[in-house]
Amino acid sequence: MTEKVFGYALAGLEGVLVSVETDVSRGLPAYEIVGLPDAAVKESKERVKSAIKNSALEFPNHKIVVNLAPAYVKKEGSVFDLPIAISLLCACGTIKNDFSGTVFLGELALNGELRPVRGVLPALISAKEKGFKKFIIPKENEKEASYIVGVETYAAQSLTQVVEHLTGVKPLQAVQTQEFVPSEKTAAHSAYDMSLIKGQPMAKRALEVAVAGGHNILFVGPPGTGKTLLARSIPSILPDMTFEESLEITKIHSVAGTLGEEGIVRTRPFRTPHHTATTVALCGGGNKSVHPGEISLAHGGVLFLDELPEYKRSSLEALRQPLEDGVITVSRAGGTVSYPADFVLCASMNPCPCGNYGSKQNRCVCTPNEIKKYRAKISGPLLDRIDIQVEVDGVSYDDLVSQTQEERSEKVKERADAARRIQRERYADSTVKTNAQMGEREMRRYCELSKECEDVLREAFDRLHLSARARARILKVARTIADLDYSEEIGVEHLYEAISYRVYGADKDKID
């Protein structure tokens, strides 16, 4: 007798329905699982057996074959424990299989308890898109599942509870759907509000421009000048998350297992991988299943690379494609897996080997050549994707500026949001979402320059020895500055400000 029960296999954020068939037949007692199970799935044999026995249910003493179909898809993880158990129980008659259309997810403990698994949210969303509306999941995954509407989800604590629900003995309460409420920790209450940073007017303005247009930003300055603090204030001025964004971010964190108790991500992520991180840790991948990397965990938020020259060249190179496409695709023998990776890149570095160039307190002892060599450590292509470079002041503000009240994040956010609204309208019919994403076509359409502006640009290129690549960057940033100024036309002053967002090294070829 074969019985089919449904489970779900995730690859990235999408997945396939897995049909768990159990055949119990006469023969010497045996118990096999087929269908390309990985080690964890193979081990579920024992977990399922013990769970069933310890739930005071009958475990058949016959030849048992469990098939996870489709047979050519690799099955990974412990998420199939529950559907395998249910399928088995159906096969030996303990439960009557009249619950087709239900998808089961969960890991079983030896005593029959149902354990939480990763990736419940994306699995449910993916299954729902395929037409499945009923789910049984572990109790601890209840929170994340509660944000999906239009489905019937039951969360159980043990195998016994599931069986009792299915046999009608003790039905479970469906999970209540929750309303998504953006975090109270909005701009008004962030622990890293901009007003807590004293001074740094240029860096703050640069941040405002960066966030307004979705541009990546590089801070250059002596150590201890607050580059990290500035980076941490970015989430407080990014636009509020919509429910869709939150859902997408939650999916990724669910797969990675980094979801908190809340079951949903309410604030934009801020990730700071250490510079010893491997390329796999940074971009995603892995031997067996493909885990999301830091760039995907930073999706919808900020990826902060402190001390950029310290990162491995190869890891930084691997960032180029996701920075361009907003998605990372990892190829494996069995196929490709994609994770979203659309984030604000914020990086920091010292201005020179001794760290003191531009500092008022300490004297820089580096020669122009040493400075040039140091800055050349960052590859041109990566730097190309960082539209805004700004120096962080190495000066103490206590004796410099009068006791002015520093602007709060929410004020800055208002202005950035206004600029973003303009961009939403402008790019309504386009695949592009922010000024930073503009390609040649969009630039030609939206960044037309007056003759005066063209002259300014030409002069700048001549006198400052800018490279051709710099033109695109300057135009995009100028477009954002004009947006912040509510100006449809890009004016000369917008252009000049955009031109100023470069860190002038001793060399013209590398950093411009």
């Binding site: 160039y357 531009g358 500092s359 002041d393 300014v456 002069e459 400052l464 400000e497």
Partner: protein, 361 residues
């Protein structure tokens, strides 16, 4: 180029790794250079009095004298690298060096030899010359073209700034290296190419000689002898640029220096030079005036907007000003200042000094 027999002897002599002292000794001992090669064996006892490395060369040098292959190969090698050897006595050999007892036996040149003629003006300074002074150096070098050929080394800082200014807009300059041509500092490859194209590279040593610690003082001495005057752009107490100035003074050339405010590190040397009689220099006109040359350059100054003028006024009051200080003093909001300073930077009126601070040029 055609060489006389004496010149050919010098080229041959200089191609060996003999120490300068040994070379000079050999020349002193023979009545004529030609005699040196015609009867080389006679000089063997002198070689025995040399230091070991020099003495060992005798065999090699004698072998090189049999037949013309060695000489032809030496010249051919140089030619393939476009290097022209200019031995003592050659019409192109700088007359200014004839009196120097330790003048180079052969001057190696690559580029436009005509630049050796005409009046030359030397520029030197510390590698850590501040950005505003460097920008000024660039400007002055550009204007000096009207009456002089700029000559300098190829070090970071002042030398590079002077070369950049001198070759701007189709100009040319002369670069005197401290080592041989195989050891040109790769400080700025773009600039290197431009100078190779339009200017002249000189080296007092054959190509394989690296820069040693004493090479710089030797080069500075030669530089001082070649020029009519030298401008020191920035020098701390122990700067090599002061050596050039010392020799310039010794040879009776004019010494020029930028003035610095009292506590500036790079000003210690410069101010000292001014105190001991050097010319305080702020513009190219100051240099021309010292030579009694009428300068007509004066590029028309671009018109600045009212706010730009205001910012320049404030910047000229002090040395370096941070954007925040500028904002306070001018009342212009900071992000508007970024645009204004950017414009002034492009026009060449201000220069960045790091840490969001600016200086007027």
């Amino acid at each position: 180029m055609e060489y006389s027999s004496v010149e050919r002897v010098y080229i041959w002599l200089d191609s060996f790794p003999l120490s300068d002292g040994a070379k000079r000794r050999l020349i002193e001992e023979c009545e004529s250079a030609v005699q040196l090669v015609q009867n080389f064996a006679r000089f063997k006892p002198i070689f025995s009095s040399f230091k070991e490395q020099d003495a060992a060369l005798f065999e090699r040098m004698q072998a090189a004298l049999s037949g013309k292959e060695y000489y032809q190969k030496t010249v051919a090698d140089l030619q393939s690298r476009k290097i022209v050897p200019i031995p003592v006595g050659n019409p192109y050999y700088p007359r200014e060096w004839e009196e120097l007892p330790d003048k180079p036996l052969v001057l190696y040149a690559q580029g436009n030899l005509d630049l050796l003629k005409g009046k030359k003006f030397a520029v030197c300074g510390s590698r850590r010359t501040p950005p505003a002074a460097l920008k000024l150096t660039e400007k002055i070098a550009e204007e000096l073209r009207l009456a002089f050929t700029v000559i300098t080394g190829f070090s970071d800082g002042a030398d590079v700034a002077a070369l950049t200014g001198a070759i701007k807009g189709g100009g040319s300059a002369v670069c005197l290296l401290a080592g041989g041509f195989s050891f040109i500092p790769q400080t700025d490859t773009l600039l290197l190419e431009k100078v190779k194209e339009r200017g002249l590279f000189l080296s007092p040593h054959r190509p394989e000689v690296p820069c040693r610690t004493f090479s710089y003082e030797y080069r500075n001495k030669l530089l001082a002898a070649l020029c009519e005057g030298v401008l020191v752009t920035g020098a701390d107490e122990k700067s090599g640029a002061l050596i050039s100035a010392k020799y310039a003074e010794k040879f009776g050339k004019k010494v020029f220096a930028f003035p610095y405010s009292p506590s500036a590190a790079m000003g210690v040397g410069c101010n000292k030079l001014i105190k001991s009689g050097g010319y305080l220099t702020e513009t190219a006109a100051d240099i021309f005036a010292a030579f009694g040359i009428k300068a007509e350059s004066e590029k028309p100054r671009e018109t600045l907007s009212g706010t730009e003028e205001q910012v320049m006024l404030v910047l000229r009051e002090g040395t370096n000003l941070h954007v925040a200080e500028l904002a306070e003093k001018t009342g212009v909001p900071i992000y508007k200042l970024a645009a204004i300073l950017s414009s002034l930077e492009i026009k060449g009126y201000v220069v960045r000094v790091g840490g969001n601070a600016y200086a007027a040029v």
